[in-house]
Symmetry: C2
Subunit: 238 residues, 2 copies
DNA sequence: AAGTGGTCTAGACCACAGC
DNA sequence: CTGTGGTCTAGACCACTTC
């Protein structure tokens, strides 16, 4: 935590949460903040841009940086967030069941979808997520073995993301997500508490490392009544 | 279009599309680009950051800016994109039917959801979107009348966004989107070609101006088989 | 006219990759 | 060691808002 602009961003974020800068007031001007934090204006601007991008403030030319109402806007569950992080944020009791766990050669279909060499091995993991005693999510993970060689069932019971980021020290950089709604398969009916629902929300996730290599493909299948995705989007100017 | 960093972004974007910078090669270094475009490195960095945010490149410390494969990643339909823009991008023939169009006092429920004064008037617009001869999307728009006073049926047949941005010259700034899957209502069955589907994808959209005032609430109801949402997300580092 | 945020500059030092 | 991108600075000018 040494980057000045990140430190300042976090201080301002905390200050907004604490009520030091209430909603519908403006932050001190960029020049004032630069003085307060003993830094240059460009650095302050970097911090403010993160606040804006995350939906804390709205900058207005000639006026100032308006603090937005977090209550009103609620909180985006967007970005790359793992099941575990999410469940904890919501304060739910959750359990993960590892239904199957194996290492195998990629099927031709998968090899194509993940752009693998034909002899690359992949981990194939099937997990069921239970929230409040209901089996609601089916996660199918396909992870390139050569990048994440020492996977175990125990790791899968917790967070694979956590293991990759903190134990292997690999940086997850970006992901492409795709949302669709499909007919449930036999597998869905068998493994989840479908309660008569005849649709399933499928989130396909292609996850990339820092160096732009695809290392994981995840298909998350959610019971439709329990699925909710919130996004905070800024209008791109182009 | 006078901002240097935007001009440079667009040139680089075009160059990537044209094949001048093929996938899996690196762009010229920031110093080289600064020379080429006769500008400072910080300005170049602004342009490159937009490219990265949009998924064109991946920056790697010590190495360079890698051009990503657009074919592989496909294109995100994310952000705030109107139905019309979207249909045109996909190359589909599309029609919009304005089912109803009225100005009225906001219902208590809506007034609360949109944080309005009890005597504010709103436009209420019901539109059905037809793509390839199938009625697939039901759009319910609620627009605060005092911000957009002169709405007409003709405008609704085209793009309301377009009207607001280019004719009223108001700046749309950000939106909060929420995706859920629900049971279709009677209205859905009546107005859309539901073909036996028993679920509907509901996208709730709260749209804000530049000055952080909420001016429009839109509920877009999609037939589940025709719904697809793609997102390109960078891992936030916090 | 004074204050605000938006852009741009020319330089500096750092951490990291690769030879 | 050199070259890369990442951070930071101190200043400048501009467009916009407010008085």
């Amino acid at each position: 935590m040494k980057n000045k602009y990140l430190v300042i961003f976090e201080e301002l974020e905390a200050a907004i949460y604490s009520g030091k800068y209430p909603a519908n007031t403006t932050l001190p001007s960029e020049n004032e903040l630069a003085e307060q934090f003993e830094t240059s204006r460009e650095t302050i601007r970097k911090s403010l841009n993160i606040l804006a991008q995350k939906g804390y403030i709205q900058k207005m030319k000639g006026k100032g940086s308006l603090v937005l109402d977090l209550q009103k806007l609620q909180f985006p569950i967007s970005g790359l967030v793992s099941f575990k992080e999410l469940a904890e944020k919501m304060g739910h009791t959750s359990t993960t069941f590892v239904e199957s766990f194996s290492k195998q050669k990629a099927s031709p279909r998968l090899a194509k979808e993940m752009q693998l060499n034909p002899d690359d091995l992949i981990w194939k993991i099937l997990r069921v997520r239970e929230i409040n005693k209901e089996k609601i999510i089916l996660d199918k993970d396909y992870i390139v073995e050569k990048y994440v060689p020492d996977l175990t069932v125990d790791i899968c019971k917790n967070s694979i993301f956590d293991y990759i980021e903190h134990h292997l020290n690999l940086k997850i950089s970006f992901a492409r997500k795709e949302f669709t709604v499909e007919q449930p398969t036999e597998e869905d009916y068998q493994l989840l508490d479908m309660e008569g629902f005849q649709a399933i929300v499928v989130v396909k996730n292609y996850i990339y490392f820092d160096n732009a290599t695809l290392f994981q493909y995840t298909e998350s299948r959610h019971r439709p009544d329990k699925f909710r995705f919130v996004d905070f989007a800024r209008r791109s100017e182009l």
